[in-house]
């Protein structure tokens, strides 16, 4: 049974017309990628069903039987810790008539019993019991064929559990590539690793997922203006306004082919800004831990990565230092659900963890002083795209074209911190997947991006 056929048949889109939506030669973008219904249905198949998607953080399901309910694109999945310590994930859908197996956000369960007719599955999704199996099904039902649909690929990197529907996809390690070097800044600060503080913020923003993914991938540019009010607000009294000056030096990295990206400021402000945002206790803790961290990650990643943003294509984003981690779950072309978590060092003192978690809440969450303004921009961009002329205007993606640089301290390709190179990489990756390139083809670098 093939979910794709009628979709593309009726969509009117071809690989060529899709590729033409992203033009890295001129550095322009057709905004219909953000609002076209048919493109969205193709996205679910070509992008979300073929990419590695973030499922959960290891610390959310520590014990055997612990499960966390999340989504891959629009598909509900249960991520569950097995007795042997491994992780299984499967569609949160009964195979009989499709009822959701668990309506809980998280919990601990040996079995998932469907509330409709009572089919029961174990914590790995195996179908273990069926009412009336003998009398009703005359023992002809092959239970082995009717387990919950497993996510075939599950892998973890530094506490981040990812899943992928596509058997052909490269393994997670290859998929991440040099992104790991930058992920470690946030997730590999000690052997103890990290943990989620508190729970999950879930909220709805009526905008396309790519605005959010691109911003965390490539957009340091918006920070000084979009977030000026929050910067001014959190500055300790008496600090001169100059202190509110946003730093100008820094670097941006883009994945050569995979659509990931990150950017950060290289000058070492000794955690001053971070302290203002999440609290002095955290800043002090970070300064003290520098030697330990430097021993693991080296000096560059300890002192020269400040105010960083990062996206793992397509929808996993985070801010090293501020330590918010989130997924942008798509809900149609015009809406996302943001699922955001606060990440803290697992071996930090409890008072530091609490200060950190609360600081993240006050800066990046639905009520966060920084996050509020992002939401305002995204929804307005999306609303404007209801217009037929508005969606016929190319967006400008030209910042830093043809200006890549290198730095022996960091893997490349690199650009100036204020650049849209990583965005050009992200949209090119998107267009290549949408056009149906195979994983072999996708392993090759993006052409024309610089």
């Amino acid at each position: 049974m093939d979910g794709r056929e009628p979709i593309t048949a009726a969509s009117g889109w071809t690989p060529e017309s899709i590729r033409a939506l992203v033009d890295v030669q001129t550095g322009t973008l057709d905004p219909r990628i953000y609002c076209d219904e048919a493109l969205y249905r193709i996205e679910l198949e070509q992008v979300f069903a073929r990419s590695w998607l973030f499922l959960a953080h290891r610390s959310q399901i520590p014990k055997a039987g612990d499960f966390f309910s999340t989504y891959m694109g629009e598909d509900p999945v249960i991520v569950s810790r097995q007795k042997d310590g491994s992780v299984a994930a499967f569609l949160n859908q009964c195979r009989h008539r499709g009822m959701r197996l668990s309506r809980l956000d998280h919990g601990n369960a040996k079995f998932f019993t469907c509330s409709y007719h009572g089919w029961s599955y174990d914590s790995a999704g195996k179908l273990v019991s069926v009412p009336m199996e003998k009398n009703g099904y005359c023992s002809k039902l092959n239970k082995a064929d009717w387990g919950a649909v497993r996510v075939p690929r599950i892998a973890e990197y530094k506490g981040l559990i990812f899943g992928c529907w596509d058997e052909q996809a490269p393994d997670l390690d290859a998929y991440l590539g040099d992104a790991k070097f930058y992920i470690d800044v946030m997730f590999d600060r000690s052997d103890a690793g990290t943990e989620v503080w508190g729970g999950v913020h879930k909220w709805v923003i009526p905008c396309n997922w790519k605005f959010a993914a691109e911003q965390f991938c490539s957009d340091m540019y918006h920070a000084p203006l979009s977030h000026m009010s929050a910067i001014l607000a959190v500055l300790p009294d008496g600090v001169p306004p100059e202190a509110a000056q946003w730093p100008t030096e820094g670097l941006q990295w883009r994945s050569p082919n995979a659509g990931h990206g990150t950017g950060f400021h290289t000058p070492d402000d000794q955690g001053q800004l971070l302290g203002a945002i999440v609290g002095p206790l955290v800043a002090q803790y970070l300064m003290e831990s520098r030697p330990r961290v430097a021993a693991r990650l080296g000096n560059a990643r300890t002192t020269a990565v400040n105010g960083a943003h990062m996206t793992i294509f397509p929808t996993c984003s985070f801010l090293p230092g501020i330590n918010t981690l989130r997924v942008w779950h798509p809900r149609g072309p015009n809406e996302i659900e943001v699922w955001a978590m606060a990440i803290v060092d697992a071996d930090a003192p409890q008072d530091v963890k609490d200060c950190w978690g609360q600081g993240i809440t006050r800066s990046f969450s639905p009520a966060g002083m920084f996050e509020q303004d992002d939401g305002e921009n995204w929804i307005e961009v999306q609303r404007v795209l209801r217009g037929a002329r508005a969606r016929a205007q190319p967006f400008n993606l030209q910042m830093g074209m043809g200006n890549e640089q290198s730095d022996e301290r960091f893997p490349g390709p690199l650009s100036y911190v204020f650049s849209e190179a990583a965005a050009r990489g992200l949209y090119t990756r998107w267009a290549r997947m949408m056009a149906g390139e195979s994983h072999e083809q996708l392993a090759r670098p993006n052409e024309g991006v610089s």
Binding site: R103, L104, D105, H106, G107, W197, G198, G199, V200, H201, K202, W203, V204, I205, P206, L225, S226, M228, S229, A230, L232, A233, V234, E337, A342, Q358, T361, R362, S365, P366, A367, M369, E371, Q372, D373, G375, E376, N377, W378, I379, E380
Partner: protein, 174 residues
């Protein structure tokens, strides 16, 4: 003997709550801040779907996420943000209307202080057509001024009755 809830006290405290709501609806944030004590605790935790029974105990405790985990210093930062004239999420400002109902007084463990429970409906209208309806419960700890002339809010515990928050942000106060 436990202190009596008299109509006079009920009216006095309701007028205090209504006046506070009106300050927020009029965006008079500095005056609003003046209603809180220095040691304010202001909490709005996240709600989750994490227990199965409709009857009996509240959800299992455990680490919680919060929409607001604030004190007077951080609430003041939020107001400062709005005063910068660059807080885009509130430019132009949201139209808000706070409906306070089911006001229920119980004496606090400290003499003269009251725990004031109520339900709130916070309606927000933004820009051309955005509308948000935020509904939940609230318990305020009211403490009389040293001179007993008026009330101050020493603690506010809120709930927001929504699983996945349906608003694009919470750029307003509760």
């Amino acid at each position: 003997m436990t202190p009596q809830v008299t109509p006079e006290l009920q009216l006095d405290i309701e007028r205090f709550l209504f006046a506070e709501a009106a300050l927020l609806d009029r965006h008079e944030y500095r005056d609003w801040l003046s209603l809180f004590t220095e040691d304010l605790v202001y909490l709005l935790p996240v709600t989750t779907n994490d227990h199965e029974q409709a009857v009996g105990a509240p959800p299992p405790p455990g680490p919680q996420a919060y929409y607001f985990h604030d004190d007077l210093r951080t609430l003041t930062q939020r107001v400062k943000r709005l005063e910068t004239g660059k807080g885009w999420a509130e430019m132009p400002p949201s139209r808000t209307r706070r409906m306070i109902s089911n006001v229920m007084l119980t004496p606090a463990d400290v003499a003269g202080e009251w725990n004031v429970a109520c339900n709130y409906l916070l309606y927000r209208s933004r820009l051309e057509r955005q509308v948000d309806l935020l509904i939940g419960s609230r318990v305020d700890r009211l403490r009389p001024d040293p001179d007993g002339s008026r009330w101050k809010i020493a603690r506010r515990d809120l709930t927001l009755d929504q699983g996945t928050l349906l608003a694009n942000n919470l750029s307003i106060f509760f």
